[in-house]
């Protein structure tokens, strides 16, 4: 009887949820499975060829010179981007936390880049970081020249690999620091005033309050920031395309996947890179998903 009752109560919501379940089932899980199949095939041409190739495509990737460069670029980009965005976001949040004049205007300024496309960011920074010299000097190099800061003039993202990728992190930090700022500001504002007051009463200096009371309480926000930024940097694609075309010196797996699949018709290798990206993101995100949902049920 209870089963029947539950069935009657639940069939409408289940039916209403079904279209979304089917769509996600096909477009996410079905397609991932199909990509896996393609990554284990010999499909290298306009016509599909599903001859079983096992892990060959993955093994080949590991010894692929271009893929190795991509990995190195990803590590450099990720390091500079994640550290940069976390530091800038944290500094901004701490500066804004305690009622600075103009707080809301500053906050809006730091957050607006999040509303614009990475393509727009790439195009604007392409001219800001223009490496041209002599007659063609422009952008930040020209600004440094005018301000007498010649020592700061550099080749930006056209610097020899892998450090060119470190400069790609600059526009990425510009775009995403507002996000980390908002995360940390949310964390700071959630700390009860009494807690800080208690530490001060106990004789802690303002620095000690930050070091021993506030920072430990910001750890969940820091973890969120690391996961979100980390997975974004594994996926970076639009920004580099808009900033440099498909400059091989700034190549990353996401761009390699694109060119090898759609320009060179090597679908098998493209799928293998896609699956590789998926696995790296999953390593980062799945534990985080589990952690977030468990935290939610505890609250």
């Amino acid at each position: 009887m209870r089963g029947l009752h539950a069935l009657r109560r639940h069939w409408v919501p289940v039916a209403m949820l079904t279209p979304s379940v089917i769509l996600i089932g096909i477009f996410v899980y079905g397609f991932i499975a199909w990509s896996l199949r393609v990554s284990a095939s010999e499909w290298r041409g306009l016509l599909p060829d599903y001859t079983w190739a096992g892990l060959d495509n993955f093994v080949n990737l590991l010894s692929d010179r271009r893929f190795q460069i991509d990995m190195r670029n990803t590590v450099v980009f990720t390091t500079f981007f994640v550290v940069g965005a976390v530091l800038v976001g944290l500094v901004l949040a701490i500066l804004l936390d305690r009622h600075v004049p103009g707080e809301s205007i500053f906050r809006s300024i730091f957050l607006f880049p999040l509303a614009i496309s990475l393509i727009v960011t790439g195009v604007a920074w392409r001219w800001l970081m223009n490496p041209g010299s002599g007659e063609r000097v422009s952008g930040l190099n020209l600004l440094f020249d005018n301000l007498g800061l010649d020592s700061l003039i550099n080749a930006w993202h056209t610097t020899d690999p892998p450090w060119g990728s470190a400069f790609v992190a600059l526009p990425a930090v510009w775009q995403m620091s507002g996000f980390t700022m908002a995360l940390f500001l949310g964390g700071l504002r959630a700390i009860p005033e009494e807690l800080k007051e208690a530490a001060r009463v106990d004789g802690a200096s303002e620095f000690q309050v930050y070091r021993h009371v506030i920072m430990p309480l910001l750890r969940p926000a820091l973890l969120s920031a690391l996961i979100i930024l980390g997975h974004l940097s594994l996926k970076v694609f639009d920004l580099i395309v808009a900033l440099s075309g498909k400059d091989i010196r700034l190549d990353v797996p996401a761009i390699y996947m694109w060119t090898t699949t759609f320009d060179a018709n090597n679908f098998a290798r493209g799928a293998a890179i896609g699956i590789f990206l998926l696995l790296s993101v999953a390593l980062l995100v799945v534990p985080y998903l589990v952690w977030s949902l468990r935290r939610e049920t505890e609250l």
Binding site: V14, M16, L17, S35, A115, R136
Partner: protein
């Protein structure tokens, strides 16, 4: 019945509006902070400033060497040239982003309502499975996606791209609405049930009227995301149906189009989402924080 403000919304609003709103005072410490913040603000505004001064110069005054000089007046040459190049694509982006945002929010609202107020065995697992879809690198599904869209004849036009954005928007829109409806007390739903309302009745007369802010958040979030998206658009559209991001990238890669027109074009492409952000930034921020999975 008056709607109590959901507590989670209040907590999230703290980022936007501090609980105790004291006006900032000009102490020494605050002055130092203000100076540092101003320097950061200059850095954040620099690209927009450059796009704006470049866009407003007459063609005759445009040169790389005088990039940082202010325009001598307000000229629209560059914007006109950019509009001539990107106009149809801006239109495409509108035809894409508006329907996608509307369909996404309708779907997300229904899913969120079910997954918060009509939980059934396994519904939390379904929700988690949805969420994972939000994080996947789209390169990992790109080949099957193109094959599938070709099979159902939806490659090349805007409707296919709308479908794809709606589907991959399900995770985030469901998440935002689920969190939103979770803040409505269960008693509200119970009382509706006692009054004889069913699944749809409670949705229409109780949940829906209370979820206008939820709709604002999701509409704005999806509009911004779809407008700014690039990867799906390059695989699924052709030049005539390119949204503005693809057309702008193409413009930037061309040797013929001058940098000043590119800068003006970039500003045009950014303008719609920037305006939405300036007018409705509060809702945008909520969508942004939802993506971090914790309000």
């Amino acid at each position: 019945m008056t709607a109590p403000l959901p507590p989670a919304t209040i907590a999230r609003d703290r980022i936007v509006t501090p609980v105790r709103r004291r006006p900032g005072r000009w102490t020494v410490g605050n002055t130092v902070k203000f100076v540092i913040l101003t320097a950061f603000a200059a850095f954040f505004l620099l690209p927009v400033f450059l796009m704006l001064i470049t866009g407003l110069k007459p063609f005759a005054d445009v040169s790389l060497a005088r990039m940082w000089e202010l325009p001598s007046g307000i000229y629209l040459d560059n914007f006109q040239a950019a509009l001539a190049a990107l106009g149809p694509n801006l239109m495409n982006s509108i035809m894409l982003a508006v329907p996608a945002a509307i369909i996404s929010s309708a779907l997300g609202s229904m899913n969120g309502y079910i997954l918060s107020k009509w939980k059934f065995r396994g519904s939390d697992i379904i929700f988690t499975a949805f969420l994972f879809g939000m994080f996947i690198p789209y390169q990992s599904i790109l080949i099957p996606l193109v094959q599938f869209m070709q099979t159902i004849n939806l490659v090349g036009g805007i409707p296919g791209l709308i479908l794809v954005h709606v589907v991959y928007g399900i995770p985030i829109t469901t998440l935002i609405f689920r969190n939103y409806y979770a803040t409505l007390p269960n008693e509200v739903v119970e009382s509706g049930r006692i009054d004889g309302a069913g699944f749809f009745g409670i949705y229409r007369h109780i949940a829906l009227p209370l979820s206008i802010p939820g709709f604002a958040v999701v509409l704005i979030w999806q509009f911004t995301n779809v407008w700014n998206e690039f990867l799906f658009a390059i695989v699924l559209t052709r030049p005539a149906t390119w949204p503005v991001t693809v057309a702008l990238n193409n413009l930037a890669g061309s040797q013929i189009v001058e940098w000043n027109v590119q800068m003006a074009g970039a500003l045009l492409a950014a303008l719609p989402t920037l305006i939405v952000y300036i007018v409705l930034g509060r809702f945008f921020l909520r969508g942004l924080m939802a993506g971090a999975l914790k309000g």
